[in-house]
Amino acid sequence: METPTKLPPSSPSSPTTGFSVPSAEKVDGFPRRSMRRARQRRSHSSSQFRYQSSQVELTPLPLLKDAPVAELHDLFCKKLQQCCVLFDFLDCVADLKGKEIKRAALNELVESVATSRGVLIEPLYPEAIKMISVNIFRTLPPSENPDFDPEEDEPTLEASWPHLQLVYEFFLRFLESPDFQPSMAKRYVDQKFVLQLLELFDSEDPREREYLKTILHRVYGKLLGLRAYIRKQINNIFLRFIYETEHFNGVAELLEILGSIINGFALPLKSEHKQFLVRVLIPLHTAKSLSIFHAQLAYCVVQFMEKDATVTEYIIRGLLKYWPKTCTQKEVMFLGEIEEILDVIEPSQFIRVQEPLFKQIAACISSPHFQVAERALYFWNNEYILSLIEENCQVILPLVFGTLYRVSKEHWNQTIVSLIYNVLKTFMEMNSKLFDDLTASYKVEKQKELKRERERAELWRSLEEQQERRLQSLGEASRNQKNLQEREKNSKNEPENSAANAT
């Protein structure tokens, strides 16, 4: 049985900082977008109001705490119904009285569900879920800023948050209440409900996503029948994000939940889970906005490895397949993730991937971007990695030697050059014989490489010549054929002429 481990015990009202990604280190010191940023405003938006056809006037109900026990449930129910009325928050002065009544009612509901026992009886479940659905489920408004960059821009905040927050708080308390009965809830918190809940993770408002994260985690923990469905729908969201829209605000939050779900996977891993790793988690690395959720993603990947070491090869080969070609910032992130992986890799698994891996690392060391080269060279400061390298020196040194040798002579950045000298020195100490052999054969290898290069060029040149000749002869052939056909036609029409031609 899978048991999700606990998320960091965070009340969403105090957002966790555990996973916060340092906002992209500015490499070049230039502000990345100039003028437009100057007058960013914190905008508010809400799609919620439209469907309220006629506005109902709210009248305050008696307080729950004053209600006689016999009437408590009835009053609770009435308050839930009252809270189904939606208000226009874009017009901040509209119906202030009504808003205040609803706010007070929500507050009371939150407090009641959190503190008093025995409130949650069966007839209240559909009413509570209805109130929650009416309030939170809505089509999220279009982003006010079409090229919203979560790292740089202020998010659009949900205008109706003063009510929405209390509704989320109520939902959370409801799920966490000791009286909460999954067997009753599952009739109302069904697949359709969960699907709509997941769509809300696209909200631009980080406060809302924080609540959703905790709530979904509770739902996953308590309603066992929905687990497979939740995982499948998260897959779909990720696949749409990767292959269709490249846009979804809640990737980091969903990954955070998954991180704890993976932790609870039973062994051996089901093929569904392996497929999730290979076809969803690894491809997530291709996203343009990787920096926003990379910490959570790397955490999930490492979780998988720690569960089952045999997935290591899939992971490393996957990362190598999607290795960034032009974005150095992402390259640094990949290198960071590789180091996290190497930190926990099993030596037997390391041997399976060392060859392609160190070819890539060599390529990174020769990157003209010094942060990439530096990040790769830092691997040699990691004792565990160093011990793996030492054990496999015979394989690894020949893979990286040429690069180290060349870059030590060519790199523009002195820090890199001195880091490389250190690495070379380490290798010399590890295996001086091999090191000397490689130094001696370096020039010969270079020559061989050049020769191969020339041979390739020659091959292609002659292939293309041949193609040219063939196309020509093809062209000639078709011309001849055409001539022949025409002559045949002519000969039918004018037999005398063709006879003359033939002679």
């Binding site: 279009p142 292959y243 052939a477």
Partner: protein, 601 residues
């Protein structure tokens, strides 16, 4: 070798020369396996060369199996491969053998990366036409079926794009199977597949027999249009256009309209946006009667939608919608139903909405005629000309020609001027640039008198703008004005001011003089150029700033062809020779270039 024997027998083209054996497949395949991605990519892009070298038979028996079995590569390489294979028919021996290309394309159609898959599907669609009807049933259709029932969503997604190319050319039994597969994919478990199916629904409907459009397609359409995901529902709206076009008018009301009405009122703004965006197409597809009864109120609602995105999309369609209204009731509908909404949009809170409206609103004047335009539209134009957002004003100004035809621009000119002046001085240089581009048009419509009086000074002021792009555009603008108003006008109004800048203390302004002369000399003609411009240019050859001096050389090269040969020899040549001996290397270079281009050496 055995290989070369095969290829000689296979076709005429391989017989042309017998040197295939020079290139054992191993060498070529080595190239396709090179460690360096870039080299692999280069090889794949030249796959046709390799195939040609191998000949058709070895391409079929050795190269294609290799590609099918062993290529697991970077998406970039796969993309190139998918594209190449679409053009491979001749290289495998013509249509007779085209089915050999199916196995590699089939596996490419199942990969994760969308661009690769889409390219594979595109190539499959392409080569489907080269299959004979028999081959289509024996080879192609089974492939489509395999894809349609694949485990992973990618293959099912790819299948969606292949139904419509084989359906028309297969037997009725197979047709029934294809319809069944399409039905299954429309109700697939994964939204990705439903989206792919929804996006191909219109295309598939077009190749189906009408009875099946009515029985199959309509129910699929209705189901997709009420999918739980809005990303699926909005694709159904697109299909709606094709489906409505296929059905006879009398069936539209019962088969299509309930769904369309529901889409126009969908709770997701994305779906409503799609309806607004496709409104003109929908209008044409459903015909005038339904337009009058249903689409007019729907359009009104979209213009009043609570989401700005939707209002903007609808505002964009105002002109087209009005144009396509049935003539008998067009004016009434516009005046009573559309115009009131348009009036409200003029003062919308969202600038994208206003600017979308401003880009089409002027088009209404031709539809409504002079009196209505003056009475009802003019106040709206004027209001938009005063809008706080420069884009709105620009859009109005850029469409002035429509109004000009109906009521003449004079009606507007009093309001136009302040708007133009304000845009001309806008803090954003892109706004200034945009208004400069409309100057020749405005000048033509407002006439020379109005121009001289009100706009000329603006045009001259742009020449000393602090942004180069504006100065450049201003220079170009002058040329167009001269083309419009003639050389005499140029000599009297522009040339003196341009030449005056030659003495400006700022070298950038002095250079602007030269740029203007470059641009104007041809339009002004030989006389003005020789008499007024040339002396100034020659004098500037003594400028102390080297950039000015080498621009003198460039200018002389440019205006040389306008001058007569005597003048070139006596006046231009000495100056260029002097510049060719300048101590600045760039001045020398451009002087020498001018000397050789003008053949003065």
């Amino acid at each position: 070798s055995a290989g070369s024997c095969h290829s000689v027998s296979s076709s005429g083209m391989a017989g042309a020369d017998g040197d295939d054996s020079l290139y054992p497949i191993a060498v070529l395949i080595d190239e396709l396996r090179n460690e360096d991605v870039q080299l692999r990519l280069n090889s794949i892009k030249k796959l046709s060369t390799i195939a040609l070298a191998l000949g058709v038979e070895r391409t079929r028996t050795e190269l294609l199996p290799f590609l099918t079995d062993t290529i697991y590569d970077e998406d970039e390489v796969l993309l190139a491969l998918a594209e190449q294979l679409g053009n491979f028919t001749m290289l495998v021996g013509g249509p007779e053998y085209v089915h050999c290309l199916l196995p590699p394309l089939e596996s490419l159609a199942t990969v994760e990366e969308t661009v690769v898959r889409d390219k594979a599907v595109e190539s499959l669609r392409k080569i489907s036409h080269e299959h004979s009807p028999v081959d289509l049933e024996v080879h192609f259709e089974p492939l489509v079926k395999r894809l349609a029932s694949g485990d992973w969503f990618t293959s099912r997604t790819s299948a969606c794009g292949l139904f419509s190319v084989c359906y028309p050319r297969v037997s009725s039994t197979v047709k029934a199977e294809i319809r069944q597969h399409f039905r299954n994919l429309c109700s697939d478990d994964t939204p990705m597949v439903r989206r792919a199916a929804a996006s191909k629904l219109g295309e598939f409907a077009k190749v189906l027999e009408l009875e099946y459009v009515k029985s199959d397609i309509i129910s699929l359409f209705t189901a997709l249009a009420s999918d739980e995901q809005d990303s699926v529902r909005l694709l159904a709206v697109e299909a709606c256009v094709s489906i409505a076009t296929l059905l006879p008018q009398e069936d539209l009301e019962t088969l299509v309209m309930p769904t369309l009405r529901q889409a126009a009122e969908d709770k997701s703004w994305r779906v409503r946006y799609m309806v607004a965006d496709k409104f003109s197409e929908l209008q044409k597809a459903v015909g005038p009667e339904i337009t009058k009864n249903d689409l007019v109120p729907a359009f009104q609602n979209l213009l009043k939608d609570c989401e700005a995105e939707v209002r903007a999309a609808a505002a964009n369609k105002v002109k087209e919608f009005c144009e396509n209204l049935p003539e008998d009731s067009r004016e009434t509908i516009i005046m009573t139903h559309i115009l009131p909404c348009v009036k409200e949009l003029v003062s919308d809170t969202n600038q994208h909405v206003k600017s979308a409206l401003a880009s089409v609103i002027m088009g209404l004047s031709t539809i409504l005629g002079k009196d209505n335009t003056i009475e009802h539209l003019l106040p709206l134009f004027l209001a938009q000309l005063k809008d706080e957002c420069p884009e709105v004003r620009l859009n109005i100004i850029s469409n002035l020609d429509c109004v000009n035809e109906v009521i003449g621009i004079r009606q507007l000119s009093q309001s136009l001027l302040p708007a133009i002046v304000e845009l001309a001085e806008d803090a954003k240089w892109r706004v200034r640039l945009a208004i400069i581009e409309y100057m020749p048009l405005l000048a033509g419509q407002l006439g020379v008198e109005f121009f001289d009086e009100k706009l000329n000074s603006l045009c001259m002021a742009w020449l000393v703008d602090h942004v180069y792009a504006i100065r450049e555009a201003a220079t170009c603008n002058l040329t167009k004005l001269v083309e419009k108003f003639g050389a005499e006008w140029a000599q009297n109004t522009i040339v003196p001011k341009v030449l005056g800048m030659a003495n400006d203390p700022n070298y950038l302004h002095r250079m602007t003089t030269l740029f203007c002369i470059n641009a104007l000399s041809e339009a002004c003609g030989q006389e003005i150029t020789t008499k007024h411009m040339l002396p100034v240019v020659l004098k500037m050859s003594n400028d102390q700033v080297a950039n000015v001096r080498f621009n003198v050389a460039k200018s002389l090269q440019k205006i040389g062809p306008v001058l007569d040969s005597n003048c070139l020899q006596t006046e231009v040549k000495p100056v260029l020779e002097k510049l060719a001996a300048d101590q600045d290397i760039d001045v020398k270079y451009f002087a020498q270039e001018a000397i050789s281009v003008l053949a003065l050496a």
